[in-house]
Point group: C2
Chain length 309, copies 2
């Protein structure tokens, strides 16, 4: 799957991923009206609204991009109906041949991590059948519990030819509270980065990159530069571009000399582009056209930044 991700990045010329993180305040009124009329102002109505919203965006951008990253929390907040919309979104993106990164940030003790891995990138035995609960291509994993919380994900990914991105240095303002604390003179995130490199050596793809990537926020470019060197064979999933403050020029150090090694996420900057003054001319009815333009602009921004490296 890391090979497929690389192929698709090269084909599209777009090392980007669109974060499908639908919040109700992003969904245009005309979509909410349709959904609420059909299913009421209920969890089912909300789930229908975010599904209709997602589908229109996916239809308008899928040919430009290699991958999407649905954030499961934004679906989970709508309970079971929300999670049904998550699954529909994952399945629909896979039909469109997009690589799907489930942003689930799970992580637990061994047997429990194994259940999460089964849930999202594996198959569970039921009687004589193997069944897939959810079916993403990659998932994000929290490393706080150490190797035995991460290993079950790697084991399942090896079987299924799938991958993970481990949280190393997150994009949020207080990420340094624990992640930056110095251990033997070095920040904790560097030690986590070293582990990512070690875990990745167990599960290498054929194009020089492992199936074990890392999450490093665009908001911390200097740290990204160091982590790039610590994990030379790991893809870095870079959140924080756009709405969180990261810019194209901040991103260059996340890439390797081969122009690969990073994939940059933008969520609300793309999916809620129509609410941004820059794209307001599209209007809320044409929200997905605004998203398409925002994707094109993002590709150009990153391309320029990489050319000026």
């Amino acid at each position: 799957m890391i090979n497929k991700l690389i192929d698709k990045i090269q084909k599209t010329g777009a090392p980007i991923v669109v974060g499908l993180d639908p919040m109700m305040k992003f969904v245009p009124d005309h979509i909410k009206k349709i959904a609420f009329e059909e299913k009421g102002e209920t969890l089912e109505g909300a789930a229908e609204a975010i599904w209709l919203y997602n589908k229109e965006i996916i239809d308008k951008v899928y040919d430009l991009i290699p991958a999407v990253k649905p954030q499961i929390a934004m679906y989970e907040q709508f309970g079971i109906p929300g999670l049904i919309a998550f699954k529909k979104t994952v399945d629909y993106c896979k039909q469109k041949d997009l690589v799907v990164i489930g942003d689930i940030k799970r992580g637990d003790i061994g047997s429990t991590s194994a259940a999460y891995a089964t849930a999202h990138v594996g198959k569970v035995q039921v009687g004589n059948n193997l069944c897939a609960g959810f079916d993403e291509d990659f998932v994000t994993v929290n490393p706080y519990l150490g190797s035995d919380g991460v290993q079950p994900f790697i084991d399942v990914c090896k079987e299924e030819n799938k991958g993970i991105f481990v949280l190393v240095k997150t994009s949020n303002p207080s990420s340094g509270e624990f992640q930056d604390r110095l251990v033997d003179g070095r920040p904790l995130y560097e030690l986590v980065g070293e582990k990512v490199a070690e875990w990745g050596s167990q599960h290498m793809g054929s194009k020089g990159y492992s199936y074990v990537g890392a999450v490093v926020g665009a908001t911390y470019p200097e740290q990204g530069k160091i982590l790039r060197k610590i994990m030379p064979n790991s893809f870095i999933l870079v959140p924080g571009y756009g709405a969180q403050g990261g810019q194209g020029k901040d991103l260059v150090h996340f890439f390797n000399e081969d122009g690969l090694g990073a994939i940059v996420n933008s969520s609300r900057g793309i999916i809620a582009a129509y609410q941004n003054e820059k794209y307001a001319k599209f209007g809320s009815v044409n929200f997905a056209d605004a998203s398409r333009q925002a994707v094109i602009d993002m590709i150009t921004d990153i391309d320029q930044a990489l050319k000026n490296k």
Copy 2:
């Protein structure tokens, strides 16, 4: 809700929580047969099997205990049907007046943590309605992203009179890989413990304990002793008793002098007791009676240990 937890611990004399972590290998054959005949060897069949299994255990033990802790991963592995069984289990336990600790170990950047908090301990706005997705009383939270990943949970809990348990020192063998690393000469988990105490001061109950507790594994009693002092007003949720190796005598230092301050979890030691030689005489058909006896024995073990403190 922390007040209710304390009341119930005092009424039952049982500072314990039963982990409802159903794995298919724990479910007796006669239950699987019923479920699979009705729903097939499918995710729906598996979900029905774990629901029937849970319900019988809950019916047999609810009067003895203050709380349950369903581990969501064990349900999530069965996809949407599994999560429906999770919700049914949560709702049924609340009907039985049990305190429900959702073991979800979520944690993300601020806006995403807010969505998880909404999902599990809050309510989401849909049009003019407020809807609850899931509806646990407490949830477990991963601190790796720092304060802005934890604060949204506290904010929602203040509104809803609910609480959280933050992972501090987990019970698994490799928990030390990052959690024990020395920062200024002190292990990281101590710094996380200090933050738990600080977060808790924002949201105190009326009985001397805060709504922000900590998870500290029974398998690390020495660390528990230190953390008990660092977080005097926080309840400690203690996993790792029984199957993971923790014993009654290991637990005494997790409690305060008032005999409160800790709640000890056992999962497979209770729910799969009938598979343990000690309770084999019950037979698989009477699996829930074996669970009841295992609960009684666990209460006695901890009671003895506290008396011999």
